[in-house]
């Protein structure tokens, strides 16, 4: 066995915090920034949740709650959708989990640009504040739908067309600035700050998911930024990027020659990859949850990595499947239906590999695992309905109906949220040093899992009838049976229950912080580096005096001949801790330097 000396890394200056302010407020520590990001995202996500319940009140009991008028309904729809997708999920997966896990899982002391990282959070917070200020400007927030399609978004007849749309676009621009600062940081850290022995093909799938999602974001958000700026110019300066000649409410406007469909192309060039910016980190995180709690290596690691990369690449050539009925040249349908269905193949392979990871495992059904299993079900369901909507002709009757609402909630609402919850139950012990309460966690899981299925599964069938989405009320439609109204009422009841149960989760987060069982450093007996820190919660700088050295891939569970059923990545090879050469993807595991982590020659 080759002896490998622990590596000496010339310490980067870490801006050691000494006051409360530098430790918790103006912190440059990735772990504190991660928590700041997460708490802000969860707070704003609660706003979005309340908005969704208000919509459900109106849909379940139309007209009963008279504070919900059509204006406010459309404002709820818009703010709910935008917050959930951007300000909650994107921020939480990348700013929250990305920030926390990238340095810890890769054996780095921090992000490579800690100051930029701090700035990223504060600009994100600013974007949230600007977004929330929409509620205080004259006319309130925009009600243009989260897609913000012009001309409607900036014309009279849409709520918030004077101010709300401006605060929305300004907030998005700020968010993109924040994301770019954070994103460049994540990518650079993954490429430059891996510890010795941590080859790319030894990285946990969480990191792969977050890494590829960040690259997608860096390429996709600029499309949103330019469309936001162009739309602002159309609105404020009177340019006509997206505005053709229009007669609005009987009055000729000063626009001419612009193209509303151009906006849709730009929006979805961002918007479709955005779906994967949310999905890929979820894919990664859930892979690690499944593997850890099934005590078994992730099945088909290389396939999983290539699937993430392939899905990421393909996600840039499917955007117009959101525009089959937009009036664009219908021949595009052939191309985009084909690319969209091709993307189903790597996606399906991921699902198979998750289930095959369970096969012949030794499955511990704790709370993170329950959520991960829930994810498999909801994601499979939502992914399969995507085959309806991607197949252009089948989309024609279903687009803009509740089938679409059910589909995207299942696939990019419920599924990522399952992973968020599972991951919080999984990593909370590392972040705080204490376990979340198990019984509350199980209760939270059951109600959330069954409740969301009860909300969204039947909703597809409303779409088959033809019930259109983004409708404030459904009065006197011949084709909508009475029973559909009853169904809506039941869906609303389920939604209220699911909403209420989230309070249990919040209570658990708060109460366990002080009273939770002490976690120890590695409560789940996991292999990845974040569980091997000298202190829990990890101290500033993460690793004490010496960085960990990596000898094996992230999934050495139940290795034949090993003493324990898991071998941490930094466990040197020995008789008790054999390394499976052929399974270690071609690297000479006994010599970490051969693996080419990036920090070896400091």
């Amino acid at each position: 066995m080759v002896y490998v000396p622990p590596q000496e890394v010339e310490d980067v200056h870490l801006h050691d915090p000494d006051t409360f302010m530098t430790k918790y407020i103006w912190s440059q520590d990735h772990k504190v920034i991660a928590v700041q990001y997460s708490l802000t995202a969860i707070a704003v996500g609660l706003v979005a949740l309340v908005l969704s319940l208000m919509m459900r009140l109106q849909l379940g009991w139309p007209g009963v709650f008279d504070f919900i008028d059509p204006e406010s309904y459309y404002q709820f729809v818009t703010m709910h959708g935008m917050i959930m997708v951007i300000y909650l999920l994107t921020a939480l997966f990348l700013g929250g989990f990305g920030n926390y896990l990238i340095p810890l899982m890769l054996g780095a002391r921090d992000m490579v640009f800690p100051f930029l990282n701090m700035l990223s959070y504060w600009v994100y917070l600013l974007s949230v504040i600007v977004l929330m200020s929409s509620y205080f400007v004259p006319g309130g927030p925009t009600g243009a739908g989260w897609t913000l399609y012009p001309p409607q978004a900036i014309l009279q007849g849409t709520p918030g067309a004077d101010w709300g749309i401006v605060t929305m676009l300004a907030s998005l621009a700020l968010f993109i600035v924040a994301f770019t600062m954070g994103g460049l940081n994540y990518v650079t850290t993954v490429l430059q700050a891996r510890t010795r022995g941590m080859t790319l093909m030894r990285m946990p799938l969480s990191i792969w998911g977050i890494f590829v999602a960040t690259i997608l974001g860096l390429l996709a958000f600029p499309a949103l930024l330019v469309s936001a700026v162009m739309l602002l110019l159309d609105k404020l300066v009177g340019t006509s990027f997206f505005m053709p000649a229009i007669v609005s409410m009987g009055e000729q406007l000063d626009y001419s020659g612009g193209s509303p469909i151009l906006f849709q192309h730009l929006f979805w060039f961002f918007g479709h990859p955005e779906v994967y910016i949310v999905a890929l980190p979820a894919f990664g995180l859930v892979s690690d949850l499944l593997s850890t709690h099934a005590r078994k290596n992730i099945f088909g690691y290389r396939m999983m990595v290539w699937a993430i990369v392939a899905i990421g690449g393909l996600s840039f050539v499917v955007w117009a499947h959101h525009m089959y009925v937009s009036g664009m040249n219908p021949y595009f349908g052939f191309f985009f239906a084909t690319t969209t269905l091709i993307i189903a193949v790597p996606t399906a392979l991921k699902v198979y590999n998750w289930t095959l990871t369970l096969w012949r495992g030794n499955i511990r059904l704790n709370v993170p695992m329950l959520f991960a299993i829930g994810f498999i079900v909801t994601f499979t369901n939502g992914g399969l309905t995507g085959l309806f909507l991607g197949n252009v002709i089948v989309d024609i009757p279903l687009s803009d109906t509740y089938f679409v609402v059910a589909h995207f909630h299942m696939v990019m609402g419920v599924s990522p949220i399952m992973v968020v919850f599972g991951s919080i139950y999984h990593w909370y012990p590392k972040v705080t040093g204490r376990m979340l309460d198990d019984r509350l966690g199980r209760f939270h899981f059951w109600v959330t899992f069954l409740g969301t299925y009860a909300i969204y599964f039947p909703m597809h069938y409303l779409g088959f009838i033809g019930v259109p989405r983004r409708y404030y009320a459904y009065e006197d439609f011949d084709f909508i049976p009475e029973s559909a109204i009853t169904l809506n009422e039941n869906i609303s009841i389920a939604a209220l229950v699911v909403g209420a149960v989230q309070l249990v989760f919040l209570y658990n987060l708060v109460i366990s912080y002080r009273r939770g069982k002490l976690a120890g450093s590695n409560p789940w007996e996991a292999t990845t580096l974040e569980w091997q820190t000298p202190q829990t919660p990890p101290a500033h700088g993460n690793w004490g005096d010496t960085l960990p050295v990596v000898y094996r891939w992230a999934y050495d569970y139940s290795v034949p001949g090993a003493a324990k059923d898991f071998l941490p990545q930094n466990q040197p090879p020995s008789d008790d801790a054999p390394v499976q050469e052929e399974d270690n993807l071609g690297f000479d595991s006994t010599d970490p330097a051969s693996g080419g982590g990036t920090r070896e020659d400091a």
């Binding site: 289930t355 252009v392 069954l450 088959f464």
Partner: protein, 276 residues
């Protein structure tokens, strides 16, 4: 083990729900019944995959539940299995895509000789225009729109003079022959949709979109807007009545042509749409 039972119930329950659901398509009233068949076919394939994945997961959880004295297998890859799963999935996806694209090819190919009519949307009303005796719609432009010329008719265009203008929320169409629907918007995006026809398409200001269908069933159907168009979106309603050719002709005859709506030349006071 509750999770195992729940997963099995979910798989079985979802199938039973699907079989017994009272909520399903409206009876089709156009030639696009093939879409319904495709959906049923897609359901069969995807439903099978869903049930298989969920049941397999449930079985794995049950069979390989935690036991202190057992070890999981160590099996990082299985090239053969992964290869075959890829192949089978690719075949399944192609089986869905191929018939889909075939029907799409029909959808984008408007039959020769389809009758044209035009739908004009504005916040939050539908209006309609038929080509009249010459069978040709006159040109129109948003810039021409005034109070007296709500369709923006081009007064110089001879083809437009006999166009029949219908400022009403209800439109009638003859049964049995292909119809090309031309779509135009004065202000924002809208979407012309009758659930029973299955087909829908956006109305986009600044350009003319279209789709085609053949009505196959007589009756009066709800017309609705399926693209968010402002606070009144949910109120943007209409009716489409499908009836025999004769009944349709009689209905159409009751509406004025463009020429008839233009204020008489002697009426110089108005001055609005006097493009002669």
């Amino acid at each position: 083990m509750a999770i195992v039972i729940v997963l099995v119930l979910m798989a079985v329950g979802s199938v039973l729900f699907h079989i017994w659901t009272p909520w399903w398509f409206t009876e089709v009233a156009s030639n696009w019944g093939a879409i319904d068949e495709l959906i049923v076919f897609t359901f069969a394939i995807t439903g099978f995959v869903f049930v298989a994945v969920v049941l397999f997961t449930a079985y794995a959880i049950y069979k390989f539940r935690y036991k202190e004295d057992r070890r999981a297998d160590y099996e990082p890859e299985n090239k053969k299995l992964e290869f075959w799963l890829t192949v089978v999935t690719a075949i399944g996806v192609m089986a869905l895509l191929a018939p889909g694209l075939a029907v799409w090819a029909d959808f984008v190919t408007v039959p020769e000789g389809a009758e044209e009519f035009e739908v004009v949307g504005e916040q939050w009303n539908w209006t309609f225009r038929f080509p009249g005796a010459d069978g040709k719609l006159g040109t129109a432009d948003v810039a021409n729109i005034t109070y007296d010329n709500p369709f923006g008719m081009n007064a110089d265009d001879p083809n437009g003079q006999d166009d029949v203008l219908i400022e009403d929320y209800e439109v009638h169409l003859p049964i049995g022959s292909p119809i090309k629907v031309l779509l135009r918007s004065k202000d924002v995006l809208h979407d012309f949709w009758v659930p029973q026809f299955r087909a829908k398409m956006d109305l986009v200001p600044g350009l003319e979109s279209h789709f085609w269908f053949t009505p196959t069933r007589e009756g009066t159907f709800d017309l609705l807007c399926a693209e968010l168009c402002g606070v009144g979106h949910y109120t943007m309603r209409g009716k489409v009545t499908i009836e025999s050719e004769e009944a349709f002709k009689a209905w159409l005859a009751a509406y004025p042509t463009y020429a008839e709506t233009v204020p008489a030349p002697s009426d110089t006071g108005g001055g609005a749409a006097s493009g002669q």
